[in-house]
């Protein structure tokens, strides 16, 4: 019994890694699908940007609000810029990007690929000798990575400006102090660190979405369950990945500790 459930967990994971390997090999195969890449970048951006802005504002306001409560209790509200800068660039940007990648981008990718799968378009492609991984998965993966990079930038922008408005207009911090203290705890290395993590999240999110879409079962329940599992698996993959990618550069001394 335990054996059966172990295989039920292990088999999809193994298949996913095989799929990932296939995709990375296919990245270097020519011709590269530029048209699909540009269309998919547009598609991912169009499903993600609206939710990113709408999710980013309350997310940032929530964190800034709580942080400022502590600071104003200490009489150090003028330091709110440093907290805002640290929280936004190191964690809120990448984590909010995770939410958007899992909730918006990879679900849309999975619904799209899943619909193609149950309409047997993927089988038709393979019959015609076209590799769906090279044709569909590679452009989607790169497009999502690009969008994640840009979305993280949008998130940081929303974070810093939202934090500014929240701190200055609602919680009475001084605007000059806010801007001045922003650079106290974070630097350029942290920004690059955050952006690189966002790119990794985009790659993983797109791969999970494509994999689950390509393996979805038929019938109305099939695609729905596939999209549901895509969100869950993306969250499950991205949080541990976030720790790994946060901690390793700190341990190596690439970021942090130099301020």
């Amino acid at each position: 019994m335990a054996m059966i459930s172990l295989t039920r967990i292990a088999t999809p994971i193994g298949n996913f890694f095989a799929f990932t390997l296939d995709t990375f090999v296919a990245v270097f195969r020519r011709p590269f699908q530029w048209r699909e890449f540009i269309q998919q970048t547009w598609f991912v951006a169009s499903v993600s940007l609206g939710p990113a802005i709408l999710l980013g504002i309350p997310f940032v306001a929530l964190v800034t609000f709580q942080f400022n409560l502590i600071l104003s209790e200490l009489g150090a509200i003028d330091l709110s810029g440093s907290g805002s800068g640290l929280a936004t660039i190191t964690q809120i940007g990448p984590v909010a990007t995770t939410f958007i990648i899992a909730g918006a981008s990879s679900t849309a990718i999975c619904a799209d690929i899943g619909a193609r799968r149950i309409r047997e378009e993927l089988d038709a492609m393979m019959v015609l000798g076209i590799d769906p991984i090279q044709r569909l998965v590679v452009p989607r993966m790169l497009a999502t990575a690009l969008c994640a990079f840009l979305l993280n930038g949008v998130m940081i922008l929303i974070g810093l400006t939202g934090g500014f408005f929240f701190a200055v207009f609602l919680q009475e911090a001084s605007p000059g102090q806010y801007v001045d203290s922003m650079k106290l705890l974070v630097g350029f290395a942290d920004l690059v660190h955050g952006e690189l993590r966002a790119v990794a999240f985009g790659v993983v999110g797109a791969l999970v979405g494509c994999y689950r879409g390509m393996t979805c079962a038929g019938g109305p329940r099939g695609v729905g369950n596939a999209v549901n599992e895509t969100v869950v698996y993306t969250f499950l993959a991205l949080f541990p990945l976030n720790i790994l990618l946060t901690q390793v550069p700190y341990s190596l001394g690439i970021v942090g500790g130099n301020h």
């Binding site: 039920r8 309350p58 009489g75 499950l236 942090g256």
Partner: protein, 280 residues
């Protein structure tokens, strides 16, 4: 020419109106779903119990990896580790790493658990409901219920709402413990912070009020997630592909709604609270 112009005009001005239309339909759906609560609790007890088990344990492939409660615990545990890593580094820059327990006591109930567990629940419980109800709608099972004179709204939607509100409290409690454990293990066992120091600052600044407020947020989150997700599932159309799109749309909407509702509840509860005292 004039006809085309008029059609264009109708299209342009139609967009906000259609949006308003959709909002109105959602509002009436939510109102009805809430209004049916007494009937759903009284008449559909068996279904209710089945759904409570299902919310906690999930079905299908997700049940194999532990169901929504274990998935949420796992995610907040890792979020706690991330918080531990990040705050330890930031506090070390200020030579204040002893305050790790203080950061954990404040951040875990106030930010980490509501945000992360809210998103995890939207992903597991919520989108599972959209997939189920969407499949039922597309396979005309909901119409079949109506034909058999079973009111589908209380039977399918309100029962799920009640089940979610009951189940969220233990799931949320597990998630919060997961966040604390992740945080403490990271700072004490990995980074070598003294356990006594961690516990001292954690116990000093931990307030039961914060935990209670987090549960108030949890109930708000549960209501919002389940209403949004059941709405998109209940009104799904366009065959199997349409169900997939409905799940995606529901997740996008509910993540935004969860953050907004949390901000509103947090501002309402914390804004004038003076329970947080450092300076006396």
């Amino acid at each position: 020419m004039a006809g085309g112009f008029r059609r264009g005009l109708v299209h342009v001005f139609g967009v906000p109106l259609r949006l308003l239309d959709d909002l109105g339909r959602q509002a009436s759906f939510y109102g009805q779903a809430l209004a049916w609560t007494p009937k759903a609790v009284k008449d559909y007890k068996t279904e209710q119990v089945r759904l409570i088990a299902e919310v906690g344990m999930s079905t299908g492939a997700l049940a194999v990896i532990g169901g929504s409660s274990i998935i949420t615990l796992f995610i907040t545990l890792f979020a706690g580790v991330t918080g531990g890593v990040q705050t330890f580094d930031a506090l070390k820059n200020l030579q204040l790493e002893a305050l790790g327990g203080f950061a954990s006591a404040i951040i875990t109930p106030r930010l980490l658990t509501p945000i992360v567990a809210g998103a995890a629940l939207a992903a597991t419980v919520g989108s599972g409901f959209t997939a189920q109800l969407g499949a039922m709608r597309v396979a005309e099972e909901i119409d079949a219920l109506e034909v058999m004179a079973v009111r589908s709204l209380p039977y399918l939607v309100t029962t799920r709402l009640v089940a979610g509100m009951i189940t969220i409290i233990p799931i949320f409690a597990m998630a919060m413990v997961g966040g604390w454990i992740g945080w403490k293990v990271t700072q004490v066992n990995f980074f070598g912070l003294s356990e006594g120091t961690f516990n001292h600052y954690m116990n000093t600044f931990m307030q039961w009020q914060d935990v209670m407020f987090a549960f108030a947020q949890a109930v708000g989150i549960a209501i919002v997630i389940i209403l949004i997700h059941t709405y998109y599932g209940y009104t799904a159309s366009g065959g199997p592909a349409g169900v997939g799109q409905a799940v995606g749309r529901a997740v996008r909407t509910s993540l935004i709604a969860v953050m907004t509702i949390e901000l509103c509840i947090a501002m309402a509860l914390y804004a004038n609270s003076d329970a947080f005292r450092i300076s006396g």
